[in-house]
């Protein structure tokens, strides 16, 4: 009988020829994790076999790359023992890195060759000669003279507040000061330079800025140290405006109403509701600034610039500009290309330096904004010959198709489900969020992993995708997204056990019992939640299929699919395909055509913040992009209805899912 030695445990078992490695491990008490119940679906039981040639038969290698197989990786539940073997059981974390379908967010790095000297914002240290009877130059002129002499900066401007403080700062610092100067802006390339702040002593380390992505559902922010160009802290939270409407249309309607009245406000700029929405989003940003600054040990007053992206509605509301024309034909926003706003932080209520410049990146059309142009910027698709599809899985389901020669985009109202909103136990992708789930096909019991391996708080986007896919593959929900209760006598599963039960919102599936959670309540997924997820995934799928159809490009011709979204650090492409959110490009090689870029809008804002070239490029992208209006297109509705199914009404579009489903 073959002899199997397990390392590092140093235990061995004698098993008959044809037994699985899993059985061998169990025979000698070596624990191998099998979340999917040993069905070869999850890939979590991967082990490294030494000397496996001819002594091991792999029934399935579905989760392993060719390189993994060459290195000896095998799925314990799917590999049969034919002869003597030595098997290394790697730690779980190591296995996770080998799963070819889990796509990890690309890292955010400053552009190559970053140097603070290229920045529009500069911190100049000045050791000025104190005034004397021999040198009676006034303070302001003395400062200007110092800057011109040491750094060649001339024609300096400054605001009143700074002029009033000038004399006191210079004297208390004994004429050793740091001048924070903004030399120019993208729309004022020749200056004049503006004195933003005057700090006592040598404070060239003070220079910070923020990149902000105002999402309809989630606001995210990077705090950037301009000396190094690095992101020193990040923060994200739900947009406080959600309480005034979940989607952009209801926010626009709310903003244009007189408070407490359904009539449109007489003077829309001063509408109390618009003022309220503006304050809500600024309040969210300020909270994030405070958090990020605290973590990085930076004073909020040392943040001298904010680069902001968001869809046009979010930008209008952030600036307090009436947004109602976005909703009304012919759908013309007040601002797509916002000028740079020197010293606007104070007027907007941002709790950074009051004289900080606010730079809103340009958008394309009423429903495709700077979040998408910034997303394209960070994806690099506008520079590549290869045809790429970029899908931003957010509340507004924006999609861009194209390459270096052309770009076309669309947006559709997808809903906030994948950001964890509008789902009973949804949560952002933060610590404690369930981000991956496996369900044992025989017992219906789940296994899950949370961000930071903490007790679960709820389900984030990737967790929801994963859970829905597993429920579907395990036969617990039907193709219409309804939970099966079992039907006596008809299948081999008369009852589904305690995990499927009737709750306040119809049937629900219990992912985690109250005692294992951080919230002290059962974490469930209800049929209403599943409906919301279906609508969201159907809208996103219908968006990019309509777009591809409109330009006559088959999806198979797309060389790479770029995914953006607030999924935290990873998304499992296979599961997203299984529920019909992403197109089925085949298994194995097909999966390698997906790339997860993380929060592309924020990454793009960051690039435009730290690089003049990138700031120019994002303008070019906005000018170049064609916009497809889906509301004028019957195709979208048709596509949407056929995508309201798992994975899709037309099974031919999902051959790899169909083959695993029968």
């Amino acid at each position: 009988m073959p002899h199997v030695l397990f390392l590092p445990a140093q235990r061995s078992a004698e098993v008959s020829v044809g037994a699985s490695l899993l059985e061998a491990a169990q025979a000698c008490g070596v624990e191998i994790h099998i979340p999917c119940g040993g069905q070869g679906r999850c890939g979590r039981c991967a082990v490294v076999v030494q000397g496996g040639d001819g002594r091991l038969r792999r029934r399935s290698t579905i989760r392993l790359s060719p390189a993994d197989i060459a290195a000896g990786y095998a799925l314990a539940c799917q590999s049969l023992v034919l002869g003597d073997l030595a098997v290394v059981v790697p730690p779980q974390e190591e296995i996770a890195r080998h799963l070819v379908t889990a796509k990890h967010a690309v890292a955010v790095e400053p552009p190559a060759g970053y140097t603070v000297a290229d920045q529009p914002l500069q911190a100049f240290f000045l050791a000025l000669d104190p005034p004397s009877l021999a040198d009676q130059t006034d303070d302001w002129s003395r400062l200007q003279r110092g800057l011109a002499g040491a750094y060649g900066v001339s024609g300096l401007t400054a605001d009143m507040d700074l002029l009033r403080r000038l004399g006191e700062v210079l004297r208390s610092a004994d004429w050793q000061v740091t001048a924070v100067v903004e030399l120019d802006a993208w729309d004022r390339p020749a200056g004049p330079p503006r004195l933003v702040d005057l700090l006592p002593g040598r404070r060239t380390d003070a220079l910070h800025a923020i990149a902000v992505d105002i999402g309809t559902t989630t606001v995210s922010l990077f705090l950037v140290d301009l000396m190094t160009g690095r992101v020193v802290a990040r923060a994200a939270d739900y947009n406080d405006q959600i309480r005034r409407g979940e989607d952009i249309i209801s926010r626009i309607v709310y903003a244009s109403r007189k408070a407490g009245n359904s009539q449109p406000a007489a003077n829309s700029v001063n509408s109390a509701n618009l003022v309220e929405l503006q304050a809500l989003v600024v309040g969210t940003i300020n909270r994030l600034v405070e958090q990020a600054c605290r973590r990085a040990g930076v004073e909020p007053k040392q943040v001298y610039k904010a680069t902001v992206v968001g869809n046009p509605t979010m930008i209008h509301l952030f600036l307090g500009v009436p947004p109602e024309q976005i909703r009304l034909a012919p759908y013309i926003p007040a601002l797509n290309q916002v000028p740079s706003l020197p010293g606007a932080a104070q007027a907007l209520g941002l709790a950074i330096h009051p004289q900080a410049t606010v730079d809103c990146l340009p958008g394309v059309a009423s429903y495709v904004g700077a979040d998408i142009t910034a997303g394209v910027l960070s994806s690099g698709m506008h520079r590549s010959e290869a045809l790429r599809l970029f899908i931003d899985i957010g509340t507004n389901g924006e999609t861009v198709l194209g390459n270096a020669d052309w770009l076309i985009c669309c947006a559709c109202s997808a809903g906030p489900a994948f950001e964890g909103a509008g789902v009973e136990h949804g949560t952002r992708a933060a610590a404690g969020a369930i981000e991956e789930v496996w369900i044992n096909g025989d017992t219906g019991e789940p296994t899950y992993r949370t961000v930071g391996n903490l007790p679960p708080k709820g389900l984030c986007g990737s967790g929801l995708i994963s859970l829905l896919a597993e429920l579907f593959l395990a036969g617990l929900v039907d193709k219409r997204g309804r939970l099966n209760q079992g039907w006596p006598g008809l299948r081999d599963r008369p009852s589904l056990g305690p995990r499927v039960r009737r709750g306040d919102h119809g049937l629900e599936y219990v992912v985690a019992w109250a005692e294992e959670t951080a919230i002290g309540r059962d974490i469930v997924l209800t049929e209403v939640d599943i409906d919301n997820l279906l609508r969201t995934k159907a809208a996103i799928f219908a968006g990019f299929t309509s777009l591809a159809e409109a330009v006559g490009v088959p999806l198979e011709a797309v060389e790479e699919v770029l995914i953006g979204g607030a999924f935290g650090q990873h998304i499992n492409v296979e599961k997203a395909v299984e529920i019909g959110l992403l197109p089925d490009l085949g298994t194995g090689e097909g999966w390698s055509r997906f790339r997860f870029l993380g929060n592309t809008a924020l990454n793009g804002a960051y690039l435009a913040l730290v690089s003049r070239a990138m700031r120019q490029e994002v303008r070019n992208i906005a000018n170049k992009m064609t916009y497809l209006e889906l509301s004028a297109d019957n195709r979208f509705y048709e596509q949407f209805m056929s995508a309201m199914f798992l994975p899709h009404t037309d099974a031919r579009l999902f051959p790899s899912v169909a083959s695993r489903n029968t």
Partner: protein
């Protein structure tokens, strides 16, 4: 100059579905009705085959319904008080199929809730009264439908009844009952090509052969959204003929129910402008025109209410099947 009539040849074919079972087949029907099998659009007999004429089902109830038009009570007379008598009258009026509608609290004068036992009895009596294949529809209240139709399925095991209506909310129970007792189902969706297709997939996934499924795309009466229903049926049929396996089911529609709930059919002389003309003529014409329109959209089974409409619609079908000539 010779003129060639262009012809379209389709790759797909509508499935044939047989309703009812004779003694030899495990039921008690004196004959069965097969619908479907088309290889072309309705009545384009020069292009392809239409092996079976569309069938006419006559709708009866298990007891006198409280909400029908007075014209219908007048036409059926005493028969409306007893399902067995009514079934025989329907057969005499020319029905190919009998549609037994189980009344719910709303349709019942006393507002009572029907019991499974009553439903079993009504079905048993209708089966004994007529040899025609039978369709049985519940009152349209999900929980009640499940309770009554499961009992009916068991009572009439082997008869190849059509159980309805089977929707995405209750398809599991109805399909399970059809599977267990050898029946068919009528799968109804609200006027949408994709929804219709999705329900067929769900039903098939439960293991019911598609040879036992009718597709009911819903319809509206003439003047009340029939264009929308027509377009959906036409698109479903074109998809079927072009090879989409999940749309290749014969279609059932209920023009009788739709036409007879309108003001034009329900409200008599005095309640409407005089220019609307004779009440009975108007109401029957409405039902007939609704039904014939739907036949042109691809209906394989039309459910009617008035005996005069049955005769007219059957005559239209006969003529269309004879290539426009008098089919008698």
């Amino acid at each position: 100059m010779p003129v060639t009539i262009p012809q379209t040849k389709y790759a797909g074919k509508v499935r044939e579905v047989t309703i009812g079972a004779t003694r030899a087949e495990g039921g008690t029907r004196s004959r069965t009705v097969t619908v479907g099998g088309e290889t072309t659009l309705p009545f384009l007999l020069h292009e392809g085959e239409m092996p079976h004429p569309p069938a006419v089902a006559v709708e009866i109830c298990d007891r006198r319904p409280a909400d029908w038009s007075p014209l219908l009570y007048e036409a059926w007379g005493e028969a409306v008080n007893d399902p067995a008598t009514w079934a025989r009258a329907a057969e005499a009026a020319g029905a190919d199929l009998v549609l037994l509608h189980l009344t719910g609290p709303v349709q019942r004068a006393d507002g009572s809730t029907p019991t499974a036992q009553e439903a079993r009895q009504a079905v048993r009596r209708v089966l004994e009264a007529t040899g025609l294949p039978l369709l049985v529809f519940g009152p349209g209240i999900a929980d009640l439908d499940n309770e009554l139709l499961v009992a009916v399925a068991e009572e009439a095991a082997g008869e190849r009844l059509v159980l309805g209506v089977c929707e995405d909310k209750n398809y599991r129970t109805l399909v399970a009952a059809a599977l267990a007792h050898g029946h068919l189902v009528d799968g109804r969706t609200p006027m949408d090509v994709n929804l219709a297709k999705q329900l067929m997939i769900l039903i098939r996934d439960m293991g019911l052969p598609l040879e036992r499924v009718l597709m009911d795309p819903s319809t509206g009466a003439l003047g009340y959204g029939i264009e929308y229903g027509y377009s959906v049926m036409e698109r479903l049929r074109l998809a079927a003929l072009n090879g989409d396996a999940m749309t290749q089911q014969p279609m059932l529609v209920t023009p009788g129910e739709e036409a007879w709930r309108l003001k034009e059919a329900k409200v008599g002389d005095g309640g409407v402008p005089a220019a609307w003309g004779d009440w009975a003529e108007r109401a029957i014409t409405w039902e007939v025109l609704t039904a014939t329109t739907l036949l042109h959209a691809g209906a394989d089974v039309v459910c009617l209410r008035h005996p005069a409409s049955v005769a007219e619609v059957k005559a239209v079908i006969a003529r269309l099947m004879a290539g426009g000539k008098d089919g008698k």
